[in-house]
Symmetry: C3
Subunit: 291 residues, 3 copies
């Protein structure tokens, strides 16, 4: 797990009495149990303990436990059950390089589709994720059953990693049972390449929702992020995300990570979000330490 | 602790829209603290962290913590305080062999009396359990104080284990304070014997409740369960439970446990419950791994 | 962490139906993560898991997790962030010697000011505490931001420890933002001295609140506590606390701790609280074991 704390700035809307600046903090501890059969099949289970600040309220919460995830692995085959990450959440380079102590922005800010994601503080989707890897290639699929009104969701993805580059393609669809016309879906392509100290990621995709026929929120999205190793202990990163829908958030972020040794790093970033013509400055600075 | 996951089937009543089949899962971790005095008295405390699925809702819950249990042991003497198991919950062979990944049935299905039991997900009864063992013989007593309306409960038990056999007798009574006539009680006898690869348990008892004067629920109950070691790594088990009261549930269950080594086992079972003339098929199949 | 359990007695007001005597229990486990930079700066994070009894209800609760505290240390400098103890809660000899298994009383019973304290079962104040120690001297400051109506609180303190004695002085003030006249403050001085097997602490201070202009609760307070090592394994302690305000609680307590080795001790105490002319007898006896 890790701990992190620092100061975070998020410009508040005009007229708001909430605080622009507040204490950012997180405590995260993964509690893992593992076993392996005589035949070499590995089983593991994880519950995460996490405490977070409450942002502009300037308070922090008590630590909590999330839903359990169970994993079975045998050679290139892996199945997760329970509080899973779906194919999009597991897609290589989906998140790219996220600037800031709190990873406050990234290349994905144009995405509106709510894909199945691992929940650090909640129960998660109680689904199944399966992946088969052979050589540099892997294919994945995920499924989560209908919950009350949320829809059943499935997805498939494929990924390839070369020596200095990687590509991945993912598709996910969400279909509420018993309702006619409110399904949504998402298709996304990521690609990364490394040249010496420089790594770049590009990110592009399309999404649609039956509830958004004019595409005010669900439409094409795109972004990129880059990381540059300035020295042995210093990384600088930049991210840009946008989409073609009217309400999509355009974001820029610039961040730096300074390794202090022993699993400790100084991290900070600054960025801007522009949603439907309203600009917001954001930034943070602090320390993260792994344990 | 252990993790387990698999599929479970539970036939739903006619007309129900709930799902017959769902993901069964559990994460359990015992958090133990121990100390020992210079004189050899052992103290320990346990809190359990557990996450479970929510059955036919097809969702799972976040992990939670239960109430603490404190244990003092010195030679044959042991006292538990807090979230205790009472004398019935601690009685040898009370549960017998329970078929299925989720131990979905057992020889005790005819029992209606709510005895003090260790709570894995709640606070428990905040009581006291004491046991004194001398040689192959042991006697126990337990007490839990009056909570709001639930009654104070006490119990006593005795048990003997021979080379290939064991018997145990337990009695418990629940008495709400300040109410005239709604106390309930339970008397139960268990016996087990092992012949080579075969072990059998018989289970018989009687219960009564002032609130059930005609014995529609509280009456004689009985059951049996057997386990047979088919091979070095395979166990097959069967359970049967019933009672003489009109509303008692008659149950049959058949299960198998296949040891995969390393603390991992494949487990499954199938069974049927018959309550007041309504039959229900149940079954499950999955993996359990200890850590 | 530690576990403790025993019996506690607290005289109930005339006419109350609550139980005078109940099971006292606590399970406490500190979950710490630590890291150290190459330059020697230490970082740590703590979350506490705790389960307590519910007193006169004669029930116990499930275990819970509190808010996280993050600590940075470098030579004599230390900064805590999050669920902090403020300068008063951290002041040497503030609590003095507290009699009883459950530390049911102490020299501070005349204090009404609600200083920022580490919360074992809640989220805490999300503040900052800083301390700089040089030789035998140390100075500290703490701050917690405005929460809903609770006020922002700051404090400063200084402390000195000699070979057989120590003194400390602390001041804290609480100021709700946007409200005119309801701030409160507290000034406290502690001093301790050790003569062979005997250690004594004196405690005196003053508090005021704009909401209590007549000083019915907020006024001068004082107390003392002593500890005497009767033998190698036995301590006896006494505490007295009082204040000059009409509603202040005058308290006496007498306690004993018998070390049993291996981190286990037998602890008990007896005392009396007198609040506005109403006397209450209190006492407890039990075992505490560290793990």
């Amino acid at each position: 797990g890790y701990g992190r704390f620092g100061l975070r700035y998020a410009e508040q809307p005009a007229g708001s009495t909430a605080s622009d600046t507040f204490l950012e903090s997180r405590f995260r501890l993964n509690i893992d149990g593992t076993a392996e059969t005589d035949g070499g099949v590995q089983f593991s289970a994880r519950v995460r303990m996490q405490a977070d600040d409450n942002g502009a309220l300037n308070t922090a919460g008590t630590a909590g436990l999330n839903g359990a995830r169970f994993t079975t692995q045998y050679e290139g085959f892996r199945v997760d059950v329970g509080n899973i990450a779906g194919v999009i959440d597991n897609l290589p380079n989906y998140y790219g390089f996220e600037p800031g102590l709190s990873a406050f922005t990234g290349q994905y800010t144009g995405v509106d589709y709510a894909f199945d994601a691992y929940s650090s503080t909640g129960a998660g989707v109680n689904g199944v994720f399966a992946q088969y890897a052979f050589g540099d290639f892997a294919v994945s699929a995920s499924f989560s059953p209908e919950e009350t009104g949320a829809g059943e969701q499935y997805g498939i993805s494929a990924q390839y990693s070369g020596a200095n580059w990687a590509v991945a393609l993912g598709y996910s669809e969400n279909d509420p049972i018993g309702a006619g016309a409110d399904s949504s879906d998402m298709l996304v392509l990521t690609a990364s390449a490394t040249f010496g100290a420089f790594t770049g990621v590009i990110f592009v995709g399309d999404e649609s929702s039956d509830l958004d026929p004019t595409g005010a929120n669900f439409d094409t999205f795109y972004g990129l992020s880059v990381n540059y190793e300035v020295g042995a202990a210093t990384d600088v990163m930049f991210s840009y995300g946008d989409g073609s829908a009217t309400n999509d958030t355009q974001s820029f972020g610039l961040g730096v990570v300074q390794d202090l040794g022993g699993g400790v790093s100084l991290r900070g970033g600054i960025g801007q979000n522009d949603t439907a013509g309203v600009d917001q400055m954001v930034g943070d600075l602090g320390v993260q330490f792994n344990f």
